[in-house]
């Protein structure tokens, strides 16, 4: 199935989506990698709010290449997904705390994220890894940037307006399904067979 959704993503729509479906997002997406996850969660622990309300929007595991144009405005040069597995250590806490609607990345995530997605009605989708110019093409506006001086270009929170951002192949749904974990299990089985026959 193919879905075209607009942020904030309605939970009842997210619940319809199953692993293997393809989703396109229009609306607000914010980039966050390792450092931004950590910082947002630390602020929350101190009782402060991060500068972006993540609720219902797209959380994009991405460290883009950005450039200022002649008017001094930021423009996107390249913006493909980074390896999501690095965020597994705090993604569940992030989902519970900030309730994004969809996480966009590549390479898949694990059991903790899957559980949080089920409990908080969030989904996870692959954008093709390395397809940074296709992604940049779907970003229509750079709305803002936070933490740039402190964290540098790849780790900042870049707030984007996107249009039909996708195709995103859903590999974690709101029902506990995780396509990547199934694939990893298959790879492990194949590995055991190969090692036995070497």
């Amino acid at each position: 199935m193919e879905y075209h959704l607009t942020t904030p993503l309605p939970p009842e729509e997210l619940k319809k989506i199953k692993i293997g479906d393809v989703v396109y997002i229009t609306g607000t997406v914010v980039t966050a990698r390792d450092e931004a996850h950590l910082k947002a969660l630390e602020l929350h622990k101190e009782g402060k709010q991060p500068p972006v309300d993540f609720k219902g929007i797209g959380l994009f595991h991405c460290g883009p290449v950005m450039k200022k144009n002649e008017q001094g405005e930021w423009t996107v040069v390249a913006a493909g997904p980074t390896t999501s597995a690095r965020m597994e250590i705090f993604q569940d806490e992030f989902i519970k705390t900030f309730q994004p609607g969809i996480i966009i990345g590549k390479g898949g995530m694990g059991a903790r994220t899957t559980k949080a997605c089920q409990e908080e009605t969030c989904i996870y989708g692959y954008f093709t890894g390395g397809a940074a110019l296709l992604a940049a093409d779907r970003i229509k506006k750079v709305k803002d940037v936070f933490w740039y001086e402190e964290l540098g270009m790849p780790e900042s929170l870049w707030l984007f307006d996107v249009e039909n951002f996708g195709p995103l192949t859903i590999t974690i749904d709101t029902h506990g399904g995780n396509m990547t974990e199934k694939r990893i299990k298959k790879i492990e089985e194949n590995k055991d067979k190969i090692l036995q026959n070497l």
Binding site: G20, C62, G63, P64, V65, K67, V77, A78, A79, G80, T82, T83, A85, R86, K106, G107, G108, Y126, T128, G129, G130, A131, A132, L133, L134, D137, E150, L151, G152, M153, P154, E155, P167, T169, M179, T180, R183, I184, K186, I187, E188, N190, K191, K193, I194, L195, L198
Partner: protein, 292 residues
Amino acid sequence: MMDIAQVVEDTAAKLLEISATKLPSEVKEALIQDEKDTEGSLGKSQLKAINENVILAETFTKPMCQDTGLVSFFVKIGDKFPIKSEVKTALIKATEKATEKVPLRPNAVDMFEGNTKNNVGLRGYVPWFYFDLVEGDKCEIIAMPKGGGSSNVGKMKMVPPGKGIKGVKEFVVEAVAAAGPLACPPYTVGVGVGGGEDMCMNLAKKALLRPLYQYHEDENIASIEKELKDILNKLEIGAMGLGEGTSVFDVHMEFAARHPASLPVGVVISCWALRHAGATIDREGNVEWHPH
């Protein structure tokens, strides 16, 4: 008199641009072929996106991936090439220049001071250089940026020598299986065997510079490369780890002598974007660009 240091700087900056924006032709062809050959729609759609993206990068001279990598250079300096240590300074300047111009993503992070914003480390080690001294009057430079995602799945193991070649193969299978969907497959796998714990990784990285489907001139090694390539594709990782399409384009191995007590094996994995570009500069400052 030609300013040779300036030629080195300009050439290296151009090499960084080429490597970030244009794939070596055989890598490009392999990806196109894989899109044609892949039957499942999940895998095919990933390869289609990759191939469209590769064309966009080349057409608009923009980085194909936002991760323009940690910069490293493989350099061979001839005895009679007019400059030696100045080559290093020129390559550092080239890195700063390309970061601004291409642009490349600033990827050099100091653990205490943060991102240096110009791809040059504060402590003298990045960009990383592999220098070699050779006969003649030329200087060969190969730029090889490598992304963090695929570097994160690199592995080294001191295999017990009693396990021999079988132990080497086992470790390569384990390393690529562990990489699984994480590092943007289809992969190309570099394997270094022998030397010490550091040398095997160095050799593994260097092995990735050999063109795809060009096997080692030593038939013993070539046959292991081909065997591993077949075996690794039975893991069924597939394009972007979705199980459909080629898992591994090729395996390249380099062997060094080993200590009798050690069998070091290094595995360096490249994502689909196997990026490198080279040129040779002569003593007059003429630049010969390597086929790309």
